[in-house]
């Protein structure tokens, strides 16, 4: 057992840090300071810089453009990205649809899609959730009826994040309505410009446009855009959801927020002095730091185990990472919002408050802190709610 990074891993970490420092555009970096969100063009710009470096698709096989990193290197890379913070390589493309295409796609699909998935020339969004389904994903009802060489697709998707930026959508549709719930589902790729695709924004509680409803009204999709076998889509979806789960703790994101909270607390006064000297605030920071250390080691343990086992199956213990990862993301967002104090009462998000002086010093970073906290509440809901993770642990690990 050896817990420390090897010298080679430390060198690699320095290389990643240097690349981010030297290449992340200042306009994108500045948004993090204002708790503002990256827009689509920020994500594309940075993703393409990473791709040019050969780092966009960190865990893809080298034959499809992956960098050939170890699991620990991939972990280091993602943590450095999150902690910088810089935009992540788009998860829909890199962690989700890409691996499905190179694992289950036809040779033609691999050739046509993989390079553009990797480079973000095709920005993909995910068409899984439906209004009537929620956590019960397999209850989906969007239908695909075969007509000649096309499927004619009708239905509605919801929580389709970045659909308004996306070029394509990977989508679960029901191709056999008579089959049982998890059967009769297929996995298709839909060009967002196809007639009949309508995107309607959903505004989240931070007042921003991150996600959407997507209406599919007689959308014709060529059968060649189906990945894998007909009616086997549920298997691919499970594969996709279990893939690269070790990054889901997002420890780096929370670490970055903790650093910001501590720095901003230097500028804020409480009853007896600076907030940064307040014993309760300090202890809360220490407790979060401990929690993140434990979570990081847990993530590394699970990576290590998966590497040894190498059977490609998701480890139910990774539910710990989703559960605690989401909680620490929320807690760290809340810590920054706490620093904001009464200044956080003003609704400001990537914009300045009416009192102008503040916008000139570091306290600008507290602006938007409360909307960020609002949005952080989603972390324990999407991608398998905390309640679902506890169900998984109690069933798959404890055997209830």
């Amino acid at each position: 057992m050896d817990l420390s990074y090897t010298p080679a891993e430390l060198v690699f970490r320095e290389e990643v840090r240097a690349f981010i420092r030297d290449n992340l555009p200042e306009s994108i970096r500045a948004k993090a300071g204002l708790s503002a969100y990256y827009d689509g063009s920020d994500v594309r710009t940075w993703h393409k810089l990473l791709d040019a470096k050969g780092w966009a698709a960190s865990h893809w096989p080298m034959e499809y453009g992956g960098p050939g990193w170890s699991a620990v290197q991939r972990y280091i890379f993602m943590e450095e990205i999150l902690q910088a913070p810089a935009p992540e390589p788009l998860s829909f493309n890199i962690n989700m649809v890409g691996p499905v295409v190179y694992t289950f796609g036809s040779p033609e699909q691999k050739e046509r899609f993989l390079p553009k998935i990797r480079s973000l020339d095709y920005w993909f969004c995910q068409g899984f959730s439906e209004p009537g389904a929620g956590s019960d994903l397999a209850a989906l009802r969007t239908s695909a009826v075969r007509e000649g060489d096309d499927y004619v697709i009708n239905g509605q998707k919801i929580w389709t994040s970045t659909a308004h930026d996306a070029d394509w959508m990977f989508c679960l549709v029901r191709t056999d309505p008579s089959a049982k719930k998890q059967e009769g589902i297929s996995f298709v790729l839909i060009d967002m410009k196809t007639p009949g695709v309508t995107v309607r924004p959903i505004i989240t509680i931070d007042g921003e446009h991150h996600t959407n409803e997507v209406f599919l009204d007689n959308v014709r999709v060529p059968v060649v855009n189906r990945v894998g076998e007909e009616n086997k889509g549920w298997d691919y979806a499970k594969f996709l959801l279990g893939n690269e789960r070790t990054g889901i703790a997002r420890v780096g994101l929370s670490k970055g927020r903790l650093q910001r909270a501590r720095r901003l607390a230097e500028l804020s006064e409480v009853l007896d002095g600076k907030l940064s000297e307040d014993p309760f605030f300090r202890r809360r920071c220490i407790e979060l730091e401990i929690e993140l250390k434990a979570l990081e080691v847990t993530a590394l343990r699970i990576i290590d185990r998966q590497r040894k086992r190498n059977d490609g199956k998701p480890d139910p213990a990774s539910s710990i990472l989703k559960l605690r990862g989401a909680e620490t993301q929320q807690f760290s967002a809340e810590l920054v919002a706490e620093v904001a104090g009464p200044l956080g009462l003003a609704f400001t998000h990537g914009s300045k408050a009416p009192w102008q002086d503040l916008a000139e010093d570091d306290l600008t970073a507290v602006l938007g802190a409360v909307p960020n906290y609002f949005l952080s509440r989603a972390a324990t809901i999407y991608g398998g709610a905390s309640e679902v993770q506890k169900n998984i642990i109690s069933k798959a690990i404890l055997g209830f």
């Binding site: 509680i205 006064e269 409480v270 408050a353």
Partner: protein
């Protein structure tokens, strides 16, 4: 000891509940927020007609009478509807200055407030104050028989619609001293006063107020010079009572919405409400709401406690319990609503924003815990 509402209180409650039920649908609320000045003058007149704008003011002063318990009753109904009109900010908080200060023109001011013809606002918070009530850096310098005031105030509820601003400024003392704070009445549009409105995180209408060389006559002084703190502290105490009432109403609404959602939303082949983990969490939300209700009642009873330390301690006790309950109920209301819980459109999202704002208004949980400790150390 008697926890029953009097018949007058029951009537008051019924009439306000009815008003909210009729006027405060979610859709109507969005409309009120969109109207200038960010709330409905029509509703304001209705409040006046019901006597709500004169509540808590002696009838001798032209008010409607009523105790802080009455104020809490109204606030509970307002909290359930998430009323956007600045009743708390104008009538309870800024009105609290009228209630606790003695100065010329007080009767006239109460009458105008009660009939709805004058909006009041308290311009007190400052950028660096962080909840500490006595931290005032705005200055009022003697100039002839009057004063010249300089400073900037933030989070002024209804600052842009106010006909009269009560502005706090130092005529003496150090930046955190309780002594030396004075309160001035500044009429709308007074030279040197700039009012910049903005939205708060819960959709209310706030303003930043900048005072540059604002010349005021001696008559603008509310109460004695340098002795504004006790008035301010009591007005904020009143506002905490109202906020506690609002919080209870809000938590009731959240709990009702979530329980209804769980009973009707089907997943995995049946209503979500059949899952015990969600039932138990709902039960915990209920307990937190009831504990908050108890402390709102306690705060209302203690608002008129003459012993300063006891009263301040009680207000902080209440705010701590309310803050913890709002935190718990608000976060889990979102969680149990799933995806729609984090949308702008669904009512729970609005509830959560309001509950988050309430946690901070008049001092967050940490602040009040520290304040209690400070009072205990002073003995």
């Amino acid at each position: 000891m008697d926890f029953e509402l009097s018949s007058e209180q029951s009537m008051l409650k019924d009439s306000v509940d009815r008003l909210i039920a009729q006027r405060y649908t979610q859709e109507a609320r969005e409309r009120f927020k969109a109207e200038a000045p960010g709330w409905s003058r029509d509703n304001w007149q209705q409040f006046a007609d019901l006597g709500l704008l004169g509540l808590g003011f002696d009838e001798a002063l032209g008010g409607f009478g009523g105790s802080m318990t009455d104020t809490m009753i109204v606030a509970e109904a307002f909290g359930g509807g998430m009323v956007v009109e600045p009743w708390l900010g104008s009538v309870v908080l800024a009105g609290g200055i009228l209630r606790h200060a003695d100065f010329g023109g007080r009767e006239e001011a109460v009458a105008a407030l009660a009939e709805g013809s004058r909006i009041l606002a308290l311009a007190h918070e400052e950028e660096g104050a962080r909840y500490l009530l006595s931290r005032v850096s705005a200055k009022a310098d003697k100039a002839g028989s009057g004063y010249v005031v300089n400073g900037r105030k933030i989070n002024v509820i209804a600052g842009d619609s106010a006909d009269t601003l009560f502005v706090t400024a130092r005529t003496g003392g150090g930046v955190q001293d309780e002594d030396g704070i004075s309160i001035f009445a500044v009429p709308k549009g007074h030279p040197g006063v700039t009012v910049e409105p903005y939205r708060s995180i819960d959709g209310a209408r706030y303003a930043a107020v900048t005072l540059k060389g604002v010349e005021l006559p001696a008559a603008a002084l509310v109460g004695a010079a340098g002795e504004g703190f006790p008035i301010l502290e009591k007005a904020v105490g009143d506002a905490i009572v109202a906020l506690c009432g609002e919080a209870v109403g809000l938590m009731e609404a959240m709990l009702k919405t979530v329980v209804e959602y769980l009973k009707t939303r089907n997943q995995f082949g049946g209503p979500l409400g059949r899952f015990q983990a969600l039932q138990h969490r709902s039960a915990e939300m209920y307990v937190m709401t009831e504990q908050a209700r108890s402390m709102a009642i306690y705060a209302a009873a203690m608002a008129s406690e003459p012993d300063d330390r006891e009263r301040r301690r009680a207000m902080s006790f209440a705010k701590v319990q309310i803050g913890k309950s709002l935190h718990f109920v608000g976060q889990y209301a979102v969680q149990m609503s799933g995806g729609i819980g984090v949308t702008e459109e669904y009512i729970i999202g609005q509830h959560f924003k309001r509950s988050t704002a309430m946690e901070r208004q008049f001092g967050d949980t940490d602040h009040h815990l520290s304040l209690i400790d400070l009072l205990d150390r002073r003995g």
